[in-house]
Amino acid sequence: MDEAAFATGKLIEGIIIVIWIALILGIGLWSRKKVKASGDLLVGGRAIPVWMLGMWSAGASVSAWAFFGLPGGIYAAGAWQHWAICTPMIAGFPLTVIFLGRWMRVSAKKYNLMTMPDFLGEVYGGKLIRIFAAIGIVIACIFYATAQFKAIGVLIGTLLNIPYQPAAALGIAISAVYVLLGGFIAGAIINSLNVSMMIIASLLAVGLGYTWTGGYGKMLATISAATGGTTWLNNDAALGGFAWFFWISWALLLSSFGLVGQPAIVQKLYGVKKPSTLWMWGLLGGIIFGVTCPAYCYLGVVTKYLAVTDPTVAPAITGLGLGADGVIAWLTVYKLGVEAPILGGLLIAGVIGAAWSTIDGFIMMGGAAIVRDIINKCFRPNWTDKQLLKYLRIAMLVVGIIMAIETLFPSEIITWLAAIGWAQFAATLAPALLLATTWRGVTKWGGTAGVAVGTLVCAFLTLVYRIPLGTKTFITTFYLDAGAWGMILGFLTIIIVSLVTKKERGPLYYDIHKDVPKPQ
């Protein structure tokens, strides 16, 4: 490697990232004056243009998982992950608008809705459903957020030659600063920029891959001819014959309908200015996701091609000591750092932007789950808005600090950390949210039991059964079915318990199902 060119390339990439960070912090500082109430902090006063929120939600769904973890997972375990996990997620955005979005938005002012447990609490009634939902959100946040800051830590650490922990903490701190200062308003503006960067980076990635490989067919044929290439391309070999179950659990349940239960993505709907423009959120979310996610998956396949055609590539990636997570770090910092540093800098900015677009949502959501959903709504209903705003900021700071502490623990590869988080959100929230607007038979105890079962089944299968298998076994038998079982059993529990329990419901239920008479 040309050391001088590498040093210059790293400097150029570093300058691009520092300018990017300064811009983000500047916007956070500028928007702090606009936050005067808890509603400004959490939902931007419900006056944010829909296109901004569509972009932010798309960025939150792509996250570092698709831009960093998935290319690594594809490189390590097979190209099938692209088509089975990433692509079906495009459908999740319109499904959310059709089944849930309108009711979330048109009832937001009347019931002062700001979080997903808020919506569940008002439809089903009672405090327990809020508490179970908040617990599921906190568990999911831990896995999902770990994946995000791991990506930031690996990239900034590799770029600046600093250890992973301080690099990840720096990434979280930047996100925490702009969230605490400008909340939802800062997030909406910053993530419009982040997602624009993601789109540019994705288009560049596709062009780049083409010039390196000479076309998709040639690339796949070359990989197939290499040792172990056939197994890598064959999803059934990778999944031990259970690929069909994987497709059903992920593509049909978790990726598409499961998106309805992702608070970091769906909670943004509360901030939309005009409810009639929700279609734009579904359209932008689906299309931006569809442009960006496959492009970075493609980079995972391209790296595999480079590894089978150049014997120095695989040892160089392994030499970073990051396992499969080293793929994008090697590609952007080491390969592009020498060959095209400006392009490398833009790709890194795209990945970091994607991670931020999710981390900021988690900091807001984690703080709101503890302070608003549990303490304020269940135990301290008499707080003034000023008190709520103060405690929300404190809780968000605490969540940011907890995330920074999490970086001290070794984490496994990003793709499955994020996938576990996604599955936990889906299992906890999606069944109760989908049935709330589509089935008038739901009851308070049905909803509460469904959220509890979804949360517990997914957490139990993941923590007790799946994780002890270890990364290697986990990847080779990558069913990730814990969330699918949680979702299926969550649906069944709501239906069965609702059929046999007293017809008690929350006030929003009677707004949604107008044909059901309200009890006197």
Partner: protein, 74 residues
């Protein structure tokens, strides 16, 4: 032509391949011999998957225009 179109649509193809596993006849994997360019694969992803948000959301837009009262705050 249509079958060529379908065989380039990898997400659908992999679904079919994976569903074959239900009957124990799974496993052709990614069709490396059915050569295509990334641009065509990408374009077909666009047509078959991105059309879903485009069609459903344009339908939703026309539906809400016909029922503006449904988009009012309750």
């Amino acid at each position: 032509m249509f079958e060529l179109f379908l065989t380039n649509e990898y997400a659908t193809l992999i679904l079919l391949d994976m569903l074959r596993g239900v009957f124990g006849t799974y496993g052709w994997g990614l069709p490396s011999t059915w050569t295509s360019t990334w641009a065509i694969v990408y374009l077909e992803e666009f047509l078959l998957w991105w059309l879903f948000p485009a069609i459903t959301m344009l339908w939703w837009r026309s539906w809400i225009k016909k029922h503006p009262e449904l988009a009012e705050e309750i």
